[in-house]
């Protein structure tokens, strides 16, 4: 995870858009908290700078919220 964040940082995109959360399948509250947290962070970071200049699917598989479960 940290390594992936580092790789993103290297490109200039920054590490903030990628985060790993460990959530048990039954732990709904935790899931909600994670989504909220990530949404807030991404909103703070602003739109993905690549979005304006790429065609869909061109750049990569990084989703905006970047949440894994």
């Amino acid at each position: 995870m940290e390594y992936a964040q580092r790789l993103l940082e290297e490109t200039g995109l920054g590490r903030g858009r990628l985060q790993m959360y460990e959530i048990a399948a039954s732990d709904a509250p935790r899931w909600v908290a994670a989504v909220r947290e990530m949404t807030a962070r991404v909103q703070e970071l602003g739109p993905n700078p690549l979005k304006r200049h790429s065609r869909e699917g061109e750049i990569g598989e990084f989703s905006e919220t970047g949440v894994e479960s």
Binding site: E10, T11, G12, L13, L50, H53
Partner: protein, 226 residues
């Protein structure tokens, strides 16, 4: 095997700035084992290049291919056709592989993506240490299997030096003094006599670069006469 480290991303990105179509060539042997230039690393680098280019409002095309080894002609020859479609090649192989690739696929600018560091061993995933300096005159039989040329930073053939401190090396206090290890090993094997004679000066002439080795069975084929 050969251990390498991936170059800083900025350096790689900088080197391919002028090009729009880049082919990344990975190597499936040494650099794959040390997680620097194998298929996975090719994929990661390709993504990074595209991301970084995108951030700078550029669209680049990055091809990805990994071959078994870049130091063997049989694995490189099929690549020649591939290469024609691209403006530049980035090889993730060690220095030897990069050069072989450069030779075979000429007239395309080629850039290395890793810094080759040393001949070493795989202690554990992600942890590699140097063991051999290819000095052309192996002393391992004399020193109980511990290389004085490599494991001693000074490469002393008659050690230890006066900087040895509590069994550790003056250069790196985390590292054992190679000569202490050699002594202890030979002592255990009852072969301390090996250390009575002064080991003579190392013959460096044979180490002149670039070196060539012709296997004895092939001497006639390559015109080497006894």
């Amino acid at each position: 095997m050969i251990i390498a480290e991936r170059k800083p991303f900025s350096e790689i990105f900088e080197s391919v700035q002028p090009y729009d179509k880049i082919l990344l060539v990975g190597c499936g042997t040494c650099v794959a084992v040390c997680l620097a230039g194998g298929e996975k690393e090719v994929g990661l680098l390709a993504s990074q290049l595209k991301l970084a280019a995108g951030l700078r409002h550029r669209r680049i095309e990055v091809g990805e291919i990994t071959v078994e080894r870049q130091c063997d002609r049989e694995f490189l020859e099929p690549l020649c056709d591939f290469v024609a479609d691209y403006d530049a090649i980035v090889s993730m192989a060690c220095g030897a592989g990069v050069q072989f690739l450069a030779q075979l696929c000429h007239f395309k600018p080629i850039f290395p993506a890793v810094n080759t560091t040393f001949i070493g061993v795989n202690n554990a995933m992600g942890h590699y240490t140097e063991r051999c300096r290819a000095c052309h005159q192996c002393y391992l039989g004399l020193t109980g299997g511990i290389c004085p040329v490599t494991m001693c930073p000074k490469g002393l053939l008659n050690g230890p030096c006066g900087g040895m401190l509590n069994g550790k090396c003056e250069v790196d206090p985390q590292k054992d003094c190679a000569w202490i290890k050699i002594y202890q090993r030979l002592e255990l094997e009852g072969r301390l006599d090996n250390l009575t004679e002064i080991v003579p000066l190392h013959p460096h002439a044979r180490c002149t670069s670039p070196g060539t080795v012709i296997h004895p069975a092939y001497k006639r084929r390559y015109g080497v006469h006894e």
